[in-house]
Symmetry: none
């Protein structure tokens, strides 16, 4: 962020307060799911059973008790199930049709598959005797072989068996699928395998609106984040053009957020693009998209944020380009609005935030902080 | 540290990041044992049962379940068991022979005694029906009388009785011991009493190497710290000249640490000398030894630290000369290495660290922090 000329964020920083935020705890490298739960005020230790259920919720599958859900990737494998591309060339077209072709039954288990954005999908197993304690079939690396699912507990042996059988069957269906014939014809990597990870059951979570006595909504492009928002009961506002990619319509998201604040107490807005650049190690693209987000989103907010609104800006984790993955570094936090005690920072970036007046907070401190700034905190004691 | 010209530490601070660290929590005055446990990533509330077991481990006694261990001091008492010197003139010579003479049996309990450095020793009781809930016989002050051990719980009455009987017998043995005849002849305070404190049983601790998936070693001169390292499974590297005193060979410790990093992932190095000066209230000696440590240890590290190493420098507690004992003040923390987000502090001392970019952390945050900086953190979530 130091490299990006984000004049509107700098303005909010200069007129608000900044600090560092550890989404989970200092040095702990967060996943996007555990971190979003913490930022929304939940204890991941208590409510997080795996990524799968949130992915399933994000693509619109309503889970039932006993279901086991997985995050899935469309991938390209060779004849020996060696992975050529874990994201099948970031496939976009035809994934709905691919997913529909995989809705099947293995033994007495119904398999539900639904596509998310690009290479992302969710898979839900429904039926008797399932258990989420199985290993990932996704080896998390190109050029590795697809892993067989293994039971981590005797109760999960059936689930592992069903998963392995499903992958064999799915491969057969996908290899000859029209979507892939078209892709191969166009010299693009076919989505001929589905990789699974993050098995979990649907967690018991208190609803956000009731927990904080807020009417609350969310705007997000990525299935996992949508799923977390849906799972905690945030109303999802659909914004055309909000793709969760670098091409997302940031201005439209900002306009939709301000509009939503006309009728709601709380709006959560997720932006995925800088994280994608971090995972791909593309530092210049990261700077460019940060500047675009600043101009299109915070420029709009600068002129249109309701006078009584509290604005909080932070990240769910760092994704340093040099690591191409999340890190446990703290993220900068900015709060702006009436009643915020302004500090003397003049910029919004990782190093300026080190000197910020908010000091170093944790993800779970954020909701109490903004509720209090919005004059909505309940007194603890008398 | 503000008074010390520590150019190499300042260089590391200028090129790394600093902050404040509360070993346990803000304002909590830590013992060296609880603090080291926290710095190594353990919860003292869960694993700390008393100082005794770590002292025993530090002097090489392998404890068994049911044993009760004590930290012990060689002390000088008068005829009425009033303490003339709690450290028997920081006795150095002959303590092994003194300890050997105290290996005895009281009722059905075997007593094992072993000397540590200077006035320090450890005592282990082995046999049926022991319980660590007994009071210290060490009054922790010169000119006070040796205290009788009292049971803090009915189950510990036998242990208190054995301890009181042992001290009587030990006094008799020590009064006439050759070592003390020599000391009295040389006008030095005799070690004619053994004072006990910190009774505890051996705790259940997960091993450091398995916990963090690191091959790990430690370099320390003092028995208590050695004992903690041994107890968590750190391999102790013996460095000739590393005495744990003001005369310790700091350069040799630094060389041994760098050498150890050639074959290990993690090396912990303990330096005791500044704490000794604090306990003795000798501020000028503290400045002098800090400068010597800077030159001999950090000067060497400055030139020889492997390029991919993460260096973390901190204390287990403050020992202000004006208090002559530990305090609950936070200690400065410095991290240096590739991937560390450098802040704008240019010096390594207690007050500069207040403005450091790391903010204020706790002892138990340190291991997650350095693991993440070393690209060794596991992602929590997805």
């Amino acid at each position: 962020m130091q490299a990006a000329a984000t004049e509107h964020l700098h303005w909010f920083a200069a007129n608000g307060a900044t600090g560092l935020l550890d989404p989970i705890a200092p040095g702990v490298c967060p996943g996007s799911d555990t971190s979003h739960l913490a930022l929304l005020g939940y204890d991941p230790e208590a409510v997080y059973t795996g990524r799968g259920p949130f992915e399933a919720a994000g693509v619109g599958i309503d889970m039932k008790p006993g279901d086991v859900a997985f995050r899935a990737n469309w991938a390209t494998v060779d004849l020996g199930w060696r992975i050529m591309d874990r994201r099948a060339g970031r496939i976009r077209e035809g994934t709905d049709r691919l997913a529909a072709s995989l809705n099947t039954r293995v033994e007495d288990i119904d398999v539900l598959c639904r596509a998310g954005t690009e290479h992302r999908a969710a898979l839900v197993f429904r039926g008797p005797g399932l258990d989420p304690r199985v290993t990932d079939t996704d080896p998390h690396a190109d050029r590795a072989r697809v892993l067989p699912a293994k039971a981590l507990h005797p109760d999960a042996e059936k689930t592992a068996r069903i998963l392995n059988e499903f992958q064999k069957r799915a491969h057969g269906i996908m290899v000859s699928h029209d979507v892939n014939r078209e892709r191969v014809g166009a010299s693009r990597p076919p989505a001929n395998m589905i990789l699974t990870r993050g098995a979990g059951v649907f967690p018991h979570i208190s609803m956000f609106g009731a927990k904080y006595e807020l009417s609350a909504a969310a705007i997000a492009g990525v299935a996992l984040i949508k799923g977390i928002c849906r799972s905690v009961g945030l109303e999802l506002i659909d914004v055309p053009g909000a793709t969760g990619g670098l091409d997302s319509d940031f201005a439209a998201k900002a306009r939709a957020a301000v509009e939503a604040l006309g009728t709601r107490d709380f709006v959560f807005v997720s932006v995925k693009a800088p994280d994608l650049c971090g995972h791909d190690g593309k530092s210049m693209e990261k700077v460019e998209v940060l500047e675009r987000i600043d101009k299109q989103m915070f420029g709009y907010l600068h002129g249109h944020l309701p006078a009584d609104a509290i604005l909080a800006v932070t990240g769910d984790h760092s994704t340093p380009c040099e690591r191409k993955d999340h890190s446990g570094d703290p993220v900068p936090l900015l709060v702006f609005g009436e009643g915020v005690r302004s500090d003397d920072t003049r910029a919004f970036d990782e190093v300026s935030a080190m000197r910020g007046g908010l000091g170093r907070l944790r993800g779970r401190d954020l909701m109490p902080l903004v509720l209090d700034l919005a004059d909505r905190s309940a007194k603890y004691g008398a």
